[in-house]
Symmetry: C2
Subunit: 276 residues, 2 copies
């Protein structure tokens, strides 16, 4: 029973991948995954396109970096997930589909086994020139630690998608992310963090966004990884966009099964779908 | 054309109504509406149940405070909306329906005319003992200043409702609110503010939440009124839960008609409703 489980650590491996530096990306990714597991993480989230780098010039360059489930990025996730008693890893990779298309994908693995592959539905900016958009709803994987919904970066801006994952039973939404930096007013956090917090609070789920650090081909990133709890507030949050880092938060995913916001209210049961 | 219009001021009249003090509530409400109009507001939002007070003990007490569209609270809104060239006012009132039921309602008036009445769909806590829930989707009113979607307080927690208002064309969501105070971690804002910001940002609308100040029958309120812009960040925000105040923000509602978040992205057009 989830209620009897020991504290669960969720980690975000905020690395700084770069196109053209695949070997370095993979070394840094494996090191960050190892650091997360050393910290006792049961669920580890990596960034979008963590092995290949993100800022492809065109479809040809993306295709040249695409890999299948035997490729080096997914292998890094699988290897990490076999550590100790077996962990869950959700991370991004540049996927070469059996159909020959290139996808901006995320994989969920547990104890060495691939549970699901998700192909990003909403493509941001020049991703539209590099990738085929996915055609399937995002998956929810049943793991030893709970139910994890998988989405990627810009998907977070579509409440239809995030709400559906929660209604389908996700305890935690895991989002590998590369969020370009935008102007942030003084004293405010990244809008990425605000959206993660609201998404968590609205459906009383956990949300783990693993953003990337640093810059790549002239684009700066937020480096704003965050783990938000069902009350919406951050359990862990990066405030340093420049520095690769491993964030950890201790969570009890059973709390996401309690949708009450008061003695007489429940964010799921109180919906009025017949009226909307 | 909206593009040629002068700057528009949106105001939130954060009063502190109390059951049993209707006369005082109405004096304070009229004074706050007047202050907003003196500040040049074209759109004014008042709190939930601004005339009657909020914390009814039971259905009988709510019924005793219910009014129709000729009642004192709606009259205060209509009178205010006739000031100058005519303003738009959205505010809460305890409604006695023609069906004899009591509703937690909001009215939208412009230049003395009632444009729409909305009956709260999602009832919070003991409102369930006092009110009949609404049965109709929230309205969008066409005004001289733009299209205003009307909802109330706890409705903000239902992304189905807020997203639908935006997709139906609302430039501004106006939410009369009485948000009970919750624990806020140091350095954070009210979750009410975070939800308003995310709601604005996700659909690139303006969101004006008029919360209430003070305490009533042992319940403290957030006093966290906020006007958020399409980028999600606050244009005006109360940080004082105890003090009645009139917040103002200058807005250009035309910005809510531009759903682009980048040169190749649009939060409405990029949706994948066939997949969700």
């Amino acid at each position: 029973m989830m209620e009897d489980m020991p504290p669960l650590v969720v980690a975000c491996c905020q690395t700084a991948p770069s196109v053209g530096a695949v070997d370095d990306n993979l070394v840094a990714l494996r090191a960050a995954l190892g650091e997360a597991l050393d910290a006792g993480a049961g669920i580890v989230v990596a960034t979008e396109l963590a092995g290949s780098g993100y800022a492809f010039a065109d479809a040809e360059e993306a295709r040249a970096h695409a890999e299948d489930l035997a490729g080096p990025t997914v292998s890094a996730y699988r290897d990490a997930s076999q550590r100790g008693g077996g962990a869950v890893v959700v991370g991004g990779f540049c996927e070469r589909g059996e159909d020959g298309n290139t996808y901006n994908s995320a994989v969920a693995v547990e104890a060495g086994a691939v549970l699901a592959v998700y192909r990003k539905l909403h493509l941001w900016h020049d991703e539209q020139s590099c990738f085929t958009p996915g055609a399937q709803a995002p998956p929810i994987v049943e793991t030893r630690h709970g139910r994890i919904g998988v989405a990627i970066c810009y998907d977070l801006e579509f409440p239809e998608l995030t709400r559906a994952l929660a209604l389908r039973g996700a305890d935690l939404l895991a989002l590998p992310t590369n969020w370009p930096r935008t102007a942030i007013p003084p004293g405010e956090r990244s809008m990425l963090g605000t959206l993660a917090m609201a998404t968590a609070r609205l459906s009383r789920t956990f949300v783990a966004v693993c953003d990337r650090a640093g810059a790549e081909r002239g684009v700066d990133y937020e480096g704003a990884s965050i783990v938000a709890g069902p009350d919406g507030y951050p359990l862990a949050e990066s405030t340093d966009p420049l520095t690769p880092q491993v964030l950890t938060a201790t969570v009890d995913l059973a709390h996401a099964r309690d949708k009450r916001t008061g003695p007489r209210n429940d964010v799921v049961a109180d919906r009025r779908p017949e009226v909307y």
